[in-house]
Amino acid sequence: MRSFVQLFVVVSLSAGFANYSFANEFVHIPGGEFRSVIPEGEGDNLIAVASFFMQEASVTNAEFLRFVLHRPEWQRGRAVSLFVDEQYLSKWASPIFLGPRSGLQQPVTQVSWFAADAYCEWQNARLPSFYEWEYVAAANESTADARALPEWQQEILSWYSQTGGDRLSDVRNRSANFYNIFDAHGLVWEWVDDFNAFLVTGDNREQGGADQLQFCGAGAITMEEKENYAVLMRVAMLSSLEARYTTRNLGFRCARRDEVRK
C-alpha cells in the first residue's frame, strides 16, 4: 500500500513536469547518394548512404545525467583515465548533479568518444558514421543538399568563425533542417563513430617520402571540394582528437540502422 502511495506521488510529480521531455526522437533519414568532401577511394567521392535513424537533437545534459545514474562506471571520478581525460564532465557541479552552469536542455559536452559510444550502446544505438553526419548536415531547412548555396555557406561559416561563446544555447533552439534534424550546425561539434578514420596529415607537404609509410594500403586521403570549409573544419578537428579527449563544445547524438528499408 505504501509503495502504491509512493508510486502515486511519483506519477503526479512526473505529470507536473509534463512539458519537460527526455524524448530525443530517432528520426528516419531516407538513404541516398551524395558527394562527400572525403572520397571513399581514389577519385570517387560519390557516397551511398543507406537509410537510417538519427536522433533529432544532440544528447542533452539531462539525458546524459540519466545515463551515468544507470551506468555509474561512467560518472566523473569513476570513469578510468583510459577512457576519459581530466576535463570529462568537469562543468557539472558533481558527478551526479548538473548545477547552475549546465542546463538540462543544453547539449552535453566534455564527453569522450568512449563515453558517447557507451551512451549510444545503452540506447541500443550507435554513433553515426561521418558520412551519415555529413549527409544530414548538407541540408538546410528546405533542401537535402544546400551546400552549393552561397548564403547557406556564409551562415555556417559565420558560426564556425565565432569563438566558443560563454554559454551554449539549448538544443532545438533553431528550426529543424530538411530531415527534421536540429542543430546539425551552429551549436556544438559532434563525435562520429569513425572519427579515427581520417588519415589526413596535418600538412599536405608531408605526403610522400618516409611519411607515406605511416599509411598502409593506398596513400593518404586527399580532400575534395576544398571550398567546403565548414565540413573540412570538422574533419580537421575530428582527426586531431584521441578517443579519450573531451572539449567544451564537442557533444554527440546517436543513430540506428534502419532494419526494414535497406
Partner: protein
C-alpha cells in the same frame, strides 16, 4: 558501407561458439588493482589464430608489443612484423622469453583463424609468445581508439591505416610507441629493455 555492430555479432556467433561479452566497455571486476590508464580495462573478447576466444589481457604480467594490421595487406604490414622481429633480435634470449607480441586484425571479416595462423607461420614467429587476434567488428573502433590507431576501409576491401607499434608494461599501461618501420627505433628499444627489467 555502413556496418552495424549487432548484425555482425549474429553473423559471427556460429563461428565462435562461445558466448561473447556483450558490453565492449566495462570496468573489469579486478579493475581496482589496475592502473587507471591500463588498456586491460577494455573488456573485449577476441579470437586468436587457433580459434580460441581470449581477451586483450592474455599476456598480462609481461611487457607486450601491440600492433594493428590485416593479413592481406600487401606492403606495410609484412614490414610491421619484420620490424618487430628486428627489434626483438636486439634483445637477449632471456629478455625475449619475457616479451609478448599481440597483433590485432583490423579486418576481422577476412582474417579468419586459418588466415591469421597462416600469417604467423609465414613470418615464422614463435606461437608461444606471439598471437594474432581478431576482435568483433563492433569493437574495432574502440580498440583502435585505445591504441590511437586510425583506419579506414576502402571500397576495394583494402584498408588505410596508421602503423604504430605500442609497448605495454606488465599491467597494460602504454609506455612507449614507435612509427619507425624497417629499422629498430633505439629509443623504443631502450623502453622495451627497461620494461623487461
Amino acid at each position: 558501407m555502413i556496418k552495424r555492430k549487432q548484425n555482425w555479432r549474429l553473423a559471427l556467433l556460429p563461428a565462435l561458439a562461445l558466448p561473447m561479452v556483450i558490453m565492449p566497455i566495462a570496468n573489469s571486476s579486478d579493475g581496482n588493482s589496475l592502473p587507471p590508464n591500463s588498456v586491460y580495462h577494455l573488456q573485449v573478447s577476441v579470437e586468436d589464430q587457433f580459434g580460441e576466444i581470449t581477451k586483450l589481457d592474455r599476456y598480462k604480467g609481461h611487457p607486450v608489443l601491440i600492433t594493428m594490421f590485416y593479413a592481406s595487406c600487401p606492403h606495410v604490414c609484412p614490414l610491421l612484423i619484420s620490424t618487430i622481429k628486428l627489434t626483438e633480435s636486439k634483445l637477449s634470449a632471456e629478455q625475449r622469453a619475457d616479451l609478448r607480441v599481440l597483433t590485432i586484425s583490423i579486418d576481422p571479416e577476412r582474417d579468419t583463424p586459418e588466415k591469421m595462423l597462416e600469417t604467423m607461420e609465414r613470418h615464422s614467429v614463435e606461437a608461444s609468445r606471439w598471437s594474432m587476434v581478431r576482435p568483433q567488428p563492433g569493437d574495432l573502433r574502440t580498440i583502435a581508439g585505445v591504441f590511437g590507431v586510425k583506419y579506414k576501409q576502402l571500397p576495394n576491401g583494402e584498408f588505410n591505416h596508421t602503423t604504430r607499434i605500442i609497448l605495454l608494461d606488465r599491467e597494460g599501461t602504454q609506455i612507449a610507441s614507435t612509427g619507425q618501420l624497417g629499422r629498430h627505433d633505439a629509443v623504443f628499444l631502450e623502453a622495451i629493455e627497461t620494461s623487461l627489467q
